[in-house]
Amino acid sequence: MTEVKARQVTFKLQRYDPEQDDSPHFQEFRVPASRGMTVLDGLIYIKETEDSSLTFRASCRMGICGSCAIFVNNYPYLACQTQLEELGSDRLMIKPLPNLPVIKDLVVDLTSFFDAHQSIKPYLIGHDKEEMENPTSEFVQTPQELNEILQFTNCIKCGICLSACPTSASDELFLGPGTISQCYRYCADNRDDGERERSPVVAADHGIWHCHLAGACSEACPKGVDPALAIQLLKRRLVSQALKPGRKQKPASVKPHHQS
C-alpha cells in the first residue's frame, strides 16, 4: 500500500523574549498538516513537540473568546478559526497583532484596548435608575429594535479590528473601531439612556472623527460585526444630537408584572 505523505507547512514565527532579545526575530518550524487543521493546531503542535517556550494566547478554540487573534501572512485572523487549507500557502509568516505593544512572542498587551472599551461605559444605562437598581420586570424590546443592534453584539473583543485599522496605525491614541462600534451598540439600544454620558468620550480628540471609512475593520472582523457601519451610524446620531439635542427614541418600557 502506498504511504500518503503528510503535507508539510512551514510556520515562520516571530519570536521575542524581552528578557533575552534586543529585538524580534523569526524562527521556522515544519508542521505536518492534515485536512481541517487550523493555525492554532499548528502552534500547539510546535509548542508540544518542538519548542515549549513558544508563547501565544488561546482558550476556547472555537472562535468565541477572541484570545487567539494573530497576524498570518500580513492579515489578521483568529488562529482557531483559520484552517491551513484556506490560506493557500505552504509558508505561513505568523506575527503578533500590529498596533499593539508586544509582551512576548505572539502575545500583545491589550490593556489600552480594554481601557478604551471601558471608557465608553459598555453596559446599559437605563433612564429609570430605580428599575436598574432594583429590577421588577424585563424591559420591552421588539424584534425590530433588537435587529438594530444584534449584529454589533457579536463582538468578542479580539482586537483584530484595531490591528487592521489604518488610523490606529498612525494614531496610537485613536479609540479604535471596536470601542466605537460598541458605543453605538449601547447608544442604539432602546433600553439604554446613556448616550449623553458616552458622547463626550467618543466625540473627543482621537475619537470617532478620526475614522475615515477605510473599512479594513469590517473586512477583517471574524464575527461579521461590521464595525465600520456601526461607526458611521454613530456619527449620524452625534450629528443629529448636535443639530437638535434631545432624546430621539422612546425609552423602553418595563413589561407589566401580571403579563406572562
Binding site: L150, Q151, L213, G215, C221, D226, L229, A230, Q232, V239
Partner: protein, 95 residues
C-alpha cells in the same frame, strides 16, 4: 474678470498662460476626484448608502459591498469628467 480689468492685460495674459499649462489639467482632475470623493464620504459617513444592520448569519454580509460599489461609481464619474475636461480644453482646443 474685474480684477484683471483693473490690473491690466499683462496680468490677465500671465494668468491664462498659467491656467493653460497641461499640469494645471492634473490639478483639475485632482479637484474633481476630491470633490466627488468628498460627496461620497459626506453621504456614507452619515450612514447613508451603506445598508442597514443585518442579523449576523454566515456568510457575513457587511456594508463594504455597498461602500465599494459607490466608490467605483465615484471613480468612474471622475474618470469620465476628467476625460471630458481634457478633451474639451486640450484636444478640441475650445479653451
Amino acid at each position: 474678470m474685474a480684477i484683471f480689468q483693473n490690473q491690466g492685460q499683462d496680468v490677465w495674459e500671465a494668468t491664462l498662460a498659467f491656467v493653460h499649462n497641461q499640469w494645471f489639467g492634473l490639478v483639475v482632475v485632482v479637484f474633481v476626484f476630491h470633490g466627488l470623493n468628498g460627496l461620497r464620504l459626506s453621504m456614507q459617513e452619515l450612514g447613508f448608502a451603506l445598508g442597514r444592520p443585518a442579523p449576523p448569519s454566515y456568510p457575513h454580509q457587511d456594508s463594504l459591498r455597498k461602500k465599494r460599489l459607490l466608490t467605483m461609481v465615484m471613480l468612474a464619474v471622475t474618470i469620465l469628467l476628467s476625460l471630458l475636461f481634457l478633451y474639451i480644453f486640450f484636444i478640441a482646443g475650445v479653451w
